[in-house]
Amino acid sequence: MKLTIEGVGKRYKGNFWGLKDFTLELGAGVLGLLGPNGAGKSTLMRILATITRPTEGRALWNGTDIVRSPDGLRAELGYLPQDFGVYPNLNAVEFLEYMAAVKGLDRAAAARRIEELLVLVNLTEARKRPLGGYSGGMKQRIGIAQALLNDPRLLIVDEPTVGLDPEERVRFRNLLSDLGGERIVILSTHIVSDVEAVANGIAMMDRGRLLAYAEPEELLRRVEGRVWEWVIPSAELPAARERWRISSTVRRADGVHARVVSEIPPAPGAVRVPPSLEDAYLAVLEGDRARAAAA
């Protein structure tokens, strides 16, 4: 099981490149795509989901070009787009039966799978209610269920935890971890903690380009010894933000505890702390932006 992405790019109207020269090779496991809005994550995912055709480059699923022969991948693909709708007059079971038929699943196997999935996404109680009356989180869970219907070898989920309550988010993250062992899961989000929890490979993107691809441990090693915790009075925070790369702040009784990513301590009292993935993400992102500004 292998997904190869070779120099893939997508140009939109006005000569705007949403994705440029993206190269990556993936095996079984969970890949977390991290990047700010407009980084090109959704474009990449839509290309890999055979929905959007790339302007340049190619993507291969087990050696087969997915643009020229998309159906081989489609039979093994589960896709949850960032924005999707449902048919409001159908209930959960009917909608999943419809999607199973579209995906070409045997009716009996689909029926068993649907029951299992409804338990999994916690919608057993609401299974007979029309989807038009579902909340945003419930619709998102139906989206997750349909993506898993055909037991996909490649699962692509774009911002899957949007609208989920904390408990459902944890359930879904556990599910992704479970699934990642025997298939390729590509998860896009800008919630770093989601990626931190499940991904064994992380691709950081900005302005349509791949900035870094590594295991989380490797990314953390890159900022090891460069993360500081610094307690400053609230009033001094704006000035500190202007001078230092602050990845997070927490207000406590003794002042604001700011995490700073820097080669040198921001102040004599600053304490070196173990880095988080969020620190690594910001370091990569801002490092790239600083290089771009200098160039």
Binding site: R46, A49, T50, I51, T52, P70, D71, R74, A75, Y79, P81, D83, F84, G85, V86, Y87, P88, N89, L90, E94, E97, Y98, M99, A100, A101, V102, K103, G104, L105, D106, R107, A109, R113, V119, L120, N122, E125, A126, R129, P130, G132, G133, Y134, S135, G136, G137, M138, G143, Q146, L148, N150, D151, D165, E167, E168, R171, N174, L175, D178, L179
Partner: protein, 520 residues
């Protein structure tokens, strides 16, 4: 910000949003085509066998009548949808949280609708000049006399159309396809009412114009019984041409036009009463269960999460069966219909069995195949309308599997609703009727699918099919008889023509879906 400024910005933003779409260019193209038809003399105004010389007043009044007769129906479908767009895009939710009042919103929407319609009228007014010059019968341009009928007769009509479009969008029952159909029948009634009543119900101005022209022709030719035709004459030889110096603008005419304008504003204000201010809890769409978000199931917040493990699919589970997909598409097509929909369909089936065979052919079958219009009109549009395209089109072979299943579900609906009629034809040994029926059963869903795929909206099919239905089987125009209701059409081989058209439409549907897949 003053109320007038709010109104102006509401109208401006909505107008700009519309005119920057490609569809607006198509709309203007439609106006240009209508103007062209008048310019080249394919559409003329006749009083018995006489017409006016093509001077500015005559061209002005002809164009005004053409605008009022055709834009009053087409314009409604062009402008209806602006409230729905606010609903769909979520802009409405934002507007609802501002101090803007409901009457101001509906007035703003009406003003924006009117602006779009007047843009089309302006194009046609320019075309009127061209029409006079092309005719070359009297090339003296009299601006006021040419434009006055267009301004006096057309602006109130467009205002009424603009206001009705807003009113229909605020009434839950008329918001969708049912409203499109209702407007068609309202318009069908409006035409004769305008000519026959001459006074209070003369919205289109046809009554006022015909009365003026009758007086003129009565004075000239001494005729007392008249016919008033807006169309083409098969043979114009022997027709009389008279000089007409324009309308006698009486205070009654001008006052009645002002009343219509006032009525349009009144309709927009009535719309405000029904407007739900984008409160989804108040609106009642096709989903019968509560529209408001359901509470999360109890177990979502209580108790530990069950162990997460999905069993792998068994060998051979990934086995596509077309019948399963067809069944799913059929369910999608029929889901949400109320009991009375099936009751009427059943009633029409019974009528197909009980009525004389000639009535079945000319009335019952066309009615039975009009009844599912709102189901057929969803073909090819659902994926875009409900944003399921990303899910459906990422499955294997969307073109080779899902599209044929959608089409076949529409054909099966035609078979189910018109099945009793074909049985009658077969039992009577009317194999020509069986053939025409078969073509009809294939043509209607194919037309729906093609128009749905290309337009992305159910509106286009609803309008075009209604025109076909009204002019073909009902008004017995052979060229538009897709069902074999008119003997002359069958004799002229129209079923074969429609079979060929069905094949072309099918090819267009496939091409349209391919385009959709490439553009996702």
């Amino acid at each position: 910000m003053s109320q007038a400024r709010v109104l102006w910005h509401l109208m401006r933003a909505d107008f700009l949003e519309r005119v920057r779409r490609y569809s607006f260019l198509l709309t203007l193209g439609l106006a240009v085509y209508l103007g062209y038809v008048v310019s080249v003399g394919q559409l003329k105004l006749w009083i018995d066998d006489s017409r006016g010389i093509y001077n500015s007043p005559w061209v002005g009044v002809v164009m005004a009548m053409v605008i009022n007769s055709f834009l009053s129906i087409a314009g409604f479908y062009v402008v209806k949808g602006s409230v729905e767009r606010d609903r769909r895009t979520g802009v409405g939710q934002i507007l609802a949280t501002t101090p803007m009042s409901k009457p101001l919103y509906t007035l703003g929407k009406m003003a924006s609708n009117l602006a779009v319609l007047l843009a089309m009228v302006a194009v046609l007014a320019v075309m009127a000049f061209a029409a006079q010059l092309v005719a070359g019968e009297d090339t003296r341009l009299q601006m006021v006399k040419l434009l006055a009928p267009i301004l006096v007769f057309c602006v109130p009509v467009m205002a009424i159309v603009a206001a009705f479009a807003v009113l229909f969008e605020t009434l839950p029952g008329l918001r969708g396809g049912l409203g499109n159909i209702a407007w068609f029948f309202l318009w069908v009634g409006l035409m004769p009412a305008s000519i026959l009543t001459k006074g209070s119900w003369d919205l289109l101005g046809l009554g006022a114009v015909s009365a003026d022209l009758y007086r003129q022709t009565a004075l000239r030719y001494g005729v007392t019984k008249h016919s008033f035709v807006l169309g083409a004459m098969a043979d114009e030889r022997g027709s009389k041409i008279f000089h007409w110096d324009g309308m006698d603008w009486t205070p009654e005419i001008l006052l009645s036009r002002l009343v219509w304008l006032g009525l349009a504003v009144g309709l927009a204000l009535i719309a405000a009463v029904f407007f739900d201010r984008f409160d989804t809890a108040r609106s009642s769409g096709r989903v019968r269960k509560p529209q408001a978000a359901l509470p999360e199931p109890a177990e979502a917040v209580a108790g530990p999460a069950p162990a997460i493990h999905l069993h792998p699919l068994p060998e051979g589970a990934r086995r596509f069966r077309f019948f399963d997909l067809l069944r799913a598409e059929l369910r999608l097509l029929l889901k949400g219909q109320r009991w009375w929909w099936y009751a009427v369909a059943l009633g029409l089936l019974i009528a197909s069995i009980a009525a004389p065979i000639q009535s079945v052919r000319s009335v019952v079958l066309p009615l039975a195949w009009l009844w599912p219009i709102l189901l057929w009109s969803a073909l090819g549009t659902r994926e875009a309308r409900f944003a399921t395209d990303g899910l459906v089109f990422s499955a294997a072979r969307p073109l080779g599997r899902q599209l044929p299943a959608v089409w076949l579900s529409g054909v099966l609906l035609a078979v189910a609703t018109g099945g009793a009629a074909v049985l009658r034809f077969a039992l009577a040994g009317d194999w020509t009727g069986v053939g025409a029926w078969t073509v009809g059963a294939l043509f209607i869903p194919t037309l729906a699918l093609t128009l749905g795929v290309w337009s992305g909206s159910s509106k286009l099919f609803e309008i075009i099919f209604l025109v076909f239905w009204y002019l073909g089987p009902m008004q017995r125009v052979p060229a538009l008889d897709y069902v074999g209701a008119v003997p002359a059409a069958v004799k002229a081989g129209m079923p074969l023509a429609y079979l060929a058209a069905t094949a072309l439409l099918m090819a267009a549907a496939v091409a349209g879906r391919k385009r959709q897949l490439a553009r996702l």
